[in-house]
């Protein structure tokens, strides 16, 4: 039951060789795929490796996980179809429900599978904190497309990488921007792990700046934003920053419009999504977003990604899909560059030096696994379309 | 409504009850909304006697019981309890039900209220064990004194079961016992709390003549051998007359007579009011001929009682 190797690889020690002889082992030899084709030891050509995904596929946050999962699977499929790999790629997934408590069994499932050489995920910071050590222990690389909690890269998780910048990068610049734009700031988070993390980093910078602000939270389960919208409107604030996901943001935008709020509304990368505009309608007009991501709308590859995604999953790509796509492709890029057998250690080493131009960003990691380039851009909704304004620094 | 205020520990105000009186009920009035269940009732129950309370349905007998045991708190009057010789007399009005029980008053119910999913012996042990001391921790650790108490309660429960003639059914589920057996089991459970005063609410209802004789015998033995005072509600006149030392007659919440069986049997007010006719024998016969009728009346009575309790507790 513990045993899952494909064939008996010759053991290093003499004793093991003796054993191998006595237990009737032989390498598969008949060709033509099937049982023996892809798995015979020796040459690395035709071997099968697996890229795993860990994220919430059930539970309250399952849609975020599904967005990422779809992109990872798409990337694997495209890589196989392209035909320039000298190995076969497989995809596997482990559902962690997005919570720290349920993450360990999911991680263990991927770790114990010897064919898994790298993992995209975990999606959430909490789940990441709960299992990053286990992955480090197994020398298995984890490349998260969406865990942005600032503290993750300072805990010495040796195999952790992320293709999104930490909250602090975005938070600092976002705070500088809103502090410049308004005298009185209303900072709202959605009491999710992501929202509070981002809001905390913004708050820290606002304090440094000495800006006048109010911070408040809205339960992430809220479906009625009228009260908080009325509060913002009557507070006389001229800038409002919402740290949270698009589903809340679009409802909040509607409520703010109804409440007659006239000031500037800014949000972060979690809300910068076509779904925001679809949900908020005209109420979302002139909302601004800070986002540490390249302008995907002008990238021609983005269009082909979006089309391929829509074709495969019959649903448009959504939050964190491009990031997960980039993370997967970065891993595949690393795997392509490895000579001989691909091992987990080699993938980790390769990720440390990877330089891959993705849809959202250039994937290049610092020593602690943080993505190198953390330019924060400002976007704005103009006539129901998301358009790039420029870097946030240029607006300050 | 339960109140958390400490009630009933102070001695009763007013005059001390006469010597030898277990329950001293003075001028008690109990109302539910517009209905007056007990209307200025006074009676005294002496220690060691068998006192029967009789009266037609709805006369307030069960209300009286509930007032005596703390289930209801009458709006007016005094109820003073001195269950044992030498006890401090206390007022039970506003006292919590289990506290009254701990002062030495045990009761049975008109509609049997056993713990039907438990075995017979468990039912009795529950009564016995309310007098024990060991707590959950000693039970979890299986400490010696807890085991001793457990032993003692099993032994005592078996004694009580044989006392009421149910030893052979000790391990049977209470709900599966026959009607008469359940009545006796309820008495055994009440006796388990080692009472000085036992309140029996229609113990003979629904039992057959043989069981009735056994029951009468049992009550006598409880009274004589264990020295327990018994307050009895019963419709069966034959039973009441044969064992009661004294009787109190209620009608429409008022006491209309009190005295020995002979006195009561001859009391014209009782015959008129309670039996609804001057012809005693005819009335008796009618009742006996239509036991079904009486059951139905009792049931509705019981339901009203449940209703009231629901609001009170």
């Amino acid at each position: 039951m513990r045993q899952r190797s494909l064939v008996k690889i010759a053991l290093l020690s003499a004793t093991a060789v003796a054993l191998a002889a006595c237990s009737n082992s032989s390498s598969g030899s008949s060709g033509g795929g099937g049982l023996t084709g892809g798995n015979s030891g020796g040459s690395s050509s035709g071997k099968t490796y697996t890229i795993g995904f860990q994220g919430p596929l059930s539970g309250d946050n399952q849609q975020l996980g599904i967005n990422e999962r779809n992109a990872v699977e798409l990337a694997v499929e495209q890589a196989n179809a392209k035909g320039d790999l000298n190995f076969k790629l497989k995809y596997t997934e482990a559902d962690d429900v997005g919570a720290p408590a349920t993450a360990p069994p999911a991680a263990a499932k991927l770790i114990q599978d010897d064919s898994v050489v790298a993992v995209v995920g975990p999606s959430f910071s909490g789940a990441t904190k709960a299992v990053a050590k286990n992955y480090a222990d197994a020398k298995l690389a984890i490349v998260s497309p969406s865990a942005t909690n600032t503290t993750l890269t300072s805990q010495g998780f040796s195999t952790f990488f992320r293709v999104v910048p930490p909250d602090s990068a975005q938070g600092t610049q976002a705070a500088d921007y809103i502090a410049k734009k308004g005298k009185s700031i209303y900072l709202i988070d959605d009491t999710s792990e992501y929202g509070t993390g981002l809001a905390k980093d913004i708050e820290t910078e606002l304090k440094v700046k000495g800006a006048k602000y109010v911070r408040e939270g809205v339960a992430d389960t809220t479906q009625d934003y009228s009260a908080i919208a009325a509060k913002v409107a009557s507070s006389g604030a001229d800038v409002m920053y919402y740290a949270g996901y698009y589903s809340g943001a679009s409802l909040f935008a509607k409520a703010l419009a109804s409440a007659g709020y006239k000031g500037l509304a800014v949000s972060g990368d979690g809300s910068k999504d076509a779904q925001f505009i679809a949900g908020a309608g005209t109420s979302g007009e002139s909302w601004e977003f800070t986002c540490p991501c390249a302008d995907a709308t002008v990238d021609p590859n983005m269009k082909s990604f979006a089309d391929a995604y829509n074709k495969k999953w019959s649903t448009p790509s959504s939050t964190y899909s491009p990031e997960a796509f980039d993370a997967t492709n970065a891993i595949i890029d690393v795997m392509k560059g490895i000579d001989g057998d691909i091992t987990r250690e080699k993938v980790v080493a390769g990720l440390k030096t990877v330089n891959y131009k993705g849809l959202t960003n250039t994937v290049k990691f610092q020593a602690n696994g943080e993505i190198e380039k953390a330019i924060v851009f400002l976007y704005k909704v103009k006539s129901s379309k998301l358009s790039l304004v420029g870097t946030v620094t240029s607006q300050i | 409504m339960t109140s958390f205020a400490k009630a009933g520990t102070d001695s009763a105000p007013g005059a001390q009850p006469a010597a030898g009186v277990a329950f001293d009920v003075q001028d008690v009035t109990l109302r539910f909304g517009g209905v007056t269940s007990l209307n200025h009732v006074s009676l005294q129950m002496r220690r060691g006697e068998i006192l029967a309370v009789i009266g037609p349905n709805g006369a307030g007998k069960t209300s009286l019981f509930n007032s005596l045991t703390g289930v209801y708190a009458p709006q007016e009057g005094r109820i003073t309890l001195q269950a044992r010789e030498g006890d401090e007399p206390v007022s039970v009005i506003g006292m919590k039900v289990h506290k009254v029980n701990h002062l030495g008053v045990a009761r049975t119910f008109q509609n049997i209220r056993l713990f039907p999913a438990l075995t017979a012996i468990e039912n009795v042990k529950i009564g016995i064990e309310t007098r024990q001391k060991s707590g959950p921790v000693s039970a979890m650790l299986g400490l010696p004194w807890q085991r001793r108490e457990e032993h003692a309660s099993t032994k005592r429960a078996l004694e009580l079961l044989s006392f009421v003639g149910l030893a052979h059914r000790a391990n049977d589920i209470a709900g599966s016992l026959a009607y008469g057996e359940q009545r006796r089991l309820e008495i055994a459970r009440a006796m388990g709390t080692n009472p000085s005063v036992l309140l029996l609410d229609e113990p003979a209802a629904g039992t057959n003549p043989v069981e009735k004789r056994e029951l009468a015998d049992l009550i006598k033995r409880i009274n004589v051998e264990d020295g327990v005072s018994v307050l009895l509600i019963e419709h069966d006149m034959k039973l009441v007359m044969s064992i009661a030392d004294r009787l109190v007659v209620l009608n429409f919440g008022q006491k209309i007579a009190e005295g020995t069986p002979e006195q009561i049997q001859r009391d014209p007010a009782v015959i008129a009011a309670y039996l609804g006719t001057t012809d005693e024998d005819a009335a008796k016969a009618e009742l006996e001929a239509q036991p079904e009728l009486r059951r139905i009346e009792l049931l509705t009575d019981e339901e009203r009682e449940r209703e009231n309790e629901g609001e009170t507790l």
Binding site: R2, G98, A108, T196 | T2, A117, K125, E303
Partner: protein
Amino acid sequence: MNPALAFLRSDSGKRLGACLGLGVALALMTGATGRQDDYLYAIKEDLFTFHLIENLLIGVVVWLLFTFWPVIRRYLTRPGALGLLAGAMTVIVAQTVLGWYEPEDAKFSGLATLVGDTNGISALSSAFFGWLAWAQLIAVIVVGAAALVLRNRALFWVGAAMAVAAAIIASQAHKKVDELAGVVDHATGVTVAVWGYLTIAVALAIAAISTDDVARTREFVNAVLGWRPGFALGAAATALALYSLGVSSWFAPKSLNATLADVHSLFKGTSLAPIAVQYFIWLSWALVIVAGALVLVAAYFRSIILGIVGAAAAAVGLVITMISIHAITSLAANSENTYATKGPWQNLGDGAWWTCASFLALAAAGLVVAQSALKGRSATAADAAHDPSAGPRFLYAPGATLAVLGAAAAAAIFIPPTLEPSWQTALVTSIGIYMFLAIGLNVVVGWAGLLDLGFIAFYAIGAYTTAYLVGSLPVKPPFELPVLWAIPFAIAVCLIAGVILGFPTLRLRGDYLAIVTLGFGEIVRLVAVNSNGITNGPRGTEDQVPHPVINLGFVKFTFGLDQLPYWYLLLAVMVIVIIFFRRLENSRTGRAWAAIREDEVAAQAAGINPVKYKLLAFAIGASTSGIAGVLFATNVGFFNPDNFKFEFSILVLAYVVFGGMGSLPGAIAGAAVLTWLPEFLRDQVPSEDRQMYIGAVLVIMMIFRPAGLIPAKRRATELRGHGPDSAESQAVPAGGGLGGSYA
């Protein structure tokens, strides 16, 4: 009336409607996934294609089963029918759910595809995986069923022979595949399928011999178990041990699957301890044979002394086995030349652990022999009077309790090491912890009859108390404690929290209590979410909660990422709690709870203070989940308020009710099954649909077994309809009144 209409209005017609509805539901459940741009897409895909017909057919089959159930039932009681059914189900499960080929992690269908793609495979294998597997199953079932219906002796023998042949074909076909691929494969699928066929063969053979009209399964089982108490267990354990010694893997580092004999040659010439060397040559066999023979002989002759000696021999065997496997694993870990890189007890195959389990079971069997022999001698009339278990119980063989306990202990101790790491993790973080919570909630709901919808709050309080005491929260304690020292504090804090919740709310009746406890649970979670400065809010504990260290002076053990030690820690604590709770249940406290639950007014009249006992139940339940909170916190090291959502309270309640309210084994079994299910479904259905299937299982279970898996004795009786309407068993609907107690 129109006959078609009349049929539709009949019970049978209604049932057909329901079954077709079931078919539609199945079609929707297993069908396409919806799209946001076309809301009717999935419905169209599911209901206007052939997909619907397939599922409707399933509905029709179910309807036929229900409609002709009385007929089927008659045949089901015939000898051999149950065996045929069980065996067929086993084969079906093996061929749909279980793994058949480890290297590719493939199930039967996956392997079939692989075989189809492979050239030069033996004809037998290609036929078996192509069509023969299902064909032979159907053939065996048809012949067996025909034999049952016709009661034809020859046909029974034919069926049995066919089943044996099918078993051989299956095992050979699979063996050929492994040989061709040159792999060592421990997939369970084929073994289980073979067992299924053998079950059928035995059942049909028995049916052929039997002259009974009605099978007497229970009597048969009881006769086997009661013939010589302990014999059956001893024989099973000996067989398992022999199998493990001969066939199973003993040492399994990365690419190796060494049997006992392999281990001997593998470690030849190393500095292995002499006793271990001897163990791998002959001692193991000798120990199993001696202990097994002693126990079996003792059982046969009902000898107390031999039984004890046998148990002792088994214990010695267990110790020597553990010494030996410890020796090889530590040696392997210290040498650089193997793949066995981890410490002692690692890399062991299932054979080693199964042998340990067999020895433990043998020891239990020896004790059963001794105990039942002792009882047999001292059996008195008083004893009989004390236990008049009148009805025939399924397991009334003497020593049954001890035997079950022994087997359970053997499984709980020695099976987890043979599991995959993901299952070990699940066993601790999902299954074990929630079993613990279910035990705690059972006190409140099952015993005291108080409906608590916010139970998870105490778990949260326990976990946060731990995090605070070890300094993992933004607020630091005056002095930091080692993590296991948090247990008494967590118990105390939860106890107080339980009383705080209980005191003002206990006079509320069932449903009101439910919503207040729900509110309490949400308040606790929301406070944890919103108090960024104290709990670090939704981002969870600031620092890692350290893994526990057990330091007894002479022995020091540090827990790490490996999950097995946590399992044993959890098991130890759980066993203590279970023993405590068992005693509590049968003490005056437990009876007082039962009394309050059954009839609060009568309980009061008997002198029980309900407020006191309800508070006690709250406090004890709360402190149990406090302990669970500590163990959880130290195991995962990191958690956030998401772990304490309302739905978890609901789930724990579902475990308790599913298992059987008020029954300790029920609560444990309910939690085990329902926490195992999602982990199991991980590999069976799309991850995102898991909860849907769990919901369906809950509904179906409650329809067909409302009292739970293992109903409590005290409640089982009342569900059978004994006695007058107690407040709790009132058939719904019922007119209000006092029906307050909710359980």
